[in-house]
């Protein structure tokens, strides 16, 4: 079971830098997800990790051994692409066992492997069908089985679910994770879908503009993103800009427009610091009176979300924020409300030098 390491890898295409000095380690047996918007360099990074491309600078190590210049066919890995690549004239069985068959393994061994991998992806019953007879989700399962049949210990999943319908995508997430964990593989999974990244991976690496911003366990990234970009990219968030008025022990008091203040966790904040605070729509509640950590506002709009409803509230600081509440709560447009910010959850960041909008930009 390999440990894969990229050390200070950069990739340039002419004047364009696609990847800038990235360090990433995938531990033995770890399921790592690389997440970021289109054009962030995540595909470039995974192509370098897998050996499809060589980096302009930096090295790739497998179990400490330098493999930077080793071509992909000499590396021990399985690859699943976004566009499903199956042989149309071969049935499920022949597609899945293609690797061991090409390597002229003994028939008994090919049969054993074929059964094992098709059972893993729950496609053994459809072994006689051809790709055109299968749904997109089923085809991608066969592609996964084929990647596994080579008995590689490192699995590369390059946007494996992006071409599929929403429902199928949800179902396959669990299948992917289960297979990787059952076989004890090391896996890297590239995606632009934050929910997918969090639900499949042990650890998520967030990329933007050719650089790695941060990495962490999914729940830590959601609850305590270290960068303001991550706070917006993973889940949704409300952002308010203010400045620190007082610091008392573990708490800081941040003042916003019109003099409203919130108490937030202080980690090394100083009086006068310009900050951005963030609070997720589902963390906020409405309260009856202004005691507590709260800012008043007026309901401007309502959106239906199914199991929840979203109220857009114009705070008296002029900021427009989203608050998600159960559908049982009745609230008319134009109603004055008081929004309570749970102080322990509030995220605090230094105000970005180029402005908040620039720091949050997705493209």
């Amino acid at each position: 079971m390999p440990r894969i390491e990229a050390v200070q890898v950069s990739k340039r295409f002419g004047p364009i830098t696609a990847l800038e000095k990235c360090d990433v380690t995938i531990e033995d047996g770890e399921y790592l997800s690389i997440l970021g918007p289109s054009g962030c360099g995540k595909t470039t990074l995974v192509k370098i990790l897998s050996g499809l491309w060589t980096p302009t600078e930096g090295r790739v190590l497998v179990d400490g051994r330098d493999v930077t210049d080793l071509p992909v066919e000499d590396r021990d890995l399985g690859y699943v692409f976004q566009n499903i690549v199956l042989f149309p004239h071969l049935d499920v069985w022949r597609n899945a066992t293609y690797g061991p068959w090409v390597h002229a393994r003994p028939t008994a061994q090919v049969d054993g492997v074929g059964r094992e991998v098709l059972e893993l992806v729950e496609m053994l019953d459809q072994r006689g069908m051809f790709p055109r007879e299968l749904s997109g989700g089923a085809q991608q399962k066969v592609a996964l089985a084929r990647a596994l049949a080579n008995k590689a210990k490192f699995l590369v999943l390059d946007e494996p679910l992006s071409a599929l319908d929403t429902r199928v995508r949800l179902e396959l997430r669990y299948a992917l994770r289960r297979v990787v964990k059952d076989l004890g593989l090391t896996a890297v999974h590239v995606t632009h879908d934050q929910e997918e990244a969090m639900s499949v991976a042990d650890r998520v690496v967030v990329m933007r503009k050719g650089q790695i911003l941060e990495s962490g366990r999914p729940e830590d990234l959601y609850d305590h993103p270290r960068r303001v970009f991550t706070a917006n990219f993973i889940g949704e968030n409300n952002f308010l800009e203010g400045s620190v008025r007082r610091v008392v022990g573990a708490w800081a008091f941040v003042e916003f427009r019109n003099g409203y203040q919130l108490r937030v966790p202080s980690t090394g904040l100083l009086v006068g610091d310009a900050v951005v605070i963030a609070a997720r729509p589902e963390w906020l509640t409405l309260i009856k009176d202004a005691f507590g950590n709260a800012i008043p506002g007026r309901v401007e709009a309502r959106r239906f979300l199914g199991a929840m409803q979203r109220f857009l509230i114009r705070l008296f600081t002029y900021d427009l924020i989203a608050v998600d509440l159960p559908t049982s709560q009745r609230l008319n447009i134009g109603t004055d409300v008081i929004v309570s910010f749970p102080e322990a959850n509030i995220l605090v960041y230094p105000r970005p030098i180029l402005g908040l909008q620039e720091a949050l930009k997705l493209e």
Binding site: S199, Y222, E236, G306, M308
Partner: protein, 365 residues
Amino acid sequence: MAEVQLQKITKRFGRTTALADIDLTISDGEYLVVLGPSGAGKTTLLRTVAGLLEPDRGSVRMAGRDVTRLPPDEREVAYLPQTYALFQRMTVWENTTFSPSVKGWATRDRDTLAREMLSMVHLIDRGESYPRELSGGMQQRCALARALAADAEVLLLDEPLRALDARLRIELRSELRDLIRHVGTTTIHVTHDQEEALMMADRIAILRAGKLLEVGPTEAVYSRPSTPFVANFLGEMNFFEAVSYPAEGGGVRLAAGGTNLHAPERRDLDGRVMAGIRAEDCGIMPEDWRAGQGVEGIVQRRLFMGRRISLEVRAGDLGVLKVKPLTAQAKWAREGDPVFVVLPAEHILLFPIPPGGIEAALEVE
């Protein structure tokens, strides 16, 4: 602005019936979302309204006028196909002003309109760029500006957000909806994404295998769906068979094996019913807390999804329940934990038992 009326529209391709007897009216200024799985006939429906396909039977009326036999350019529609179809050799500005120019607008009026539309989609400073120089999200917004600048009475959007990154899609949903609400154009938007549909639609229409299953105001269709398919397509459902009895004090009592539950009444049903509850409407608590009605079970799978946690709980008579509570309420739950799944009476939906079984009733393809 115009009302659109589809009357008994049928369209066949060879032996396949792509649309069967579709009756649908979209009011002036309304935002209708047509939701359905791949291959349900959504694009065919839009192309029929646009005039790119002629129906085998039925008629299309706009603002009271029969346009069934009119070519696309004589209908007051702007069609935004899945692939945007921007003119690659024209700049953003030229793409946006194309339609008003063709219609012979005065330069000043044309420029004012184009500037307004490009400002709305936040592309006013990219007028000189060519489509290939733009990101996917920008191209999508440019295509939208072009469609809006056509100043058509009806806007037809075919999966307008599909090609975008997941996060950008969420952001553009609200922007797109606000923009069109501001302009007030009658809009038909087709998608396979239920969250997008719920968030954007005034009314929602569910299409399956060429048939219109249900049309209605979004919240009504969501909270009182007419069939298990519609219920499940608007949010992942749990189904279980039960026997219903009238209960004292209103509502019904449901018996599913040894489990007894309360549910709201449905007058037309008694005896054996198919009961359902959405994964997001189920609550969860440690087994020894138990408050309200529900069942005991063991967590079999757990997936963290950010805002929510997705759990599968093996719950005796009710089989495996899908439960999707908010993360804050279920952080503690681990695979193997004994839990109590709360099934609030007001969220339980009742249906007749589907004749071909529940699996067939839910099948999307």
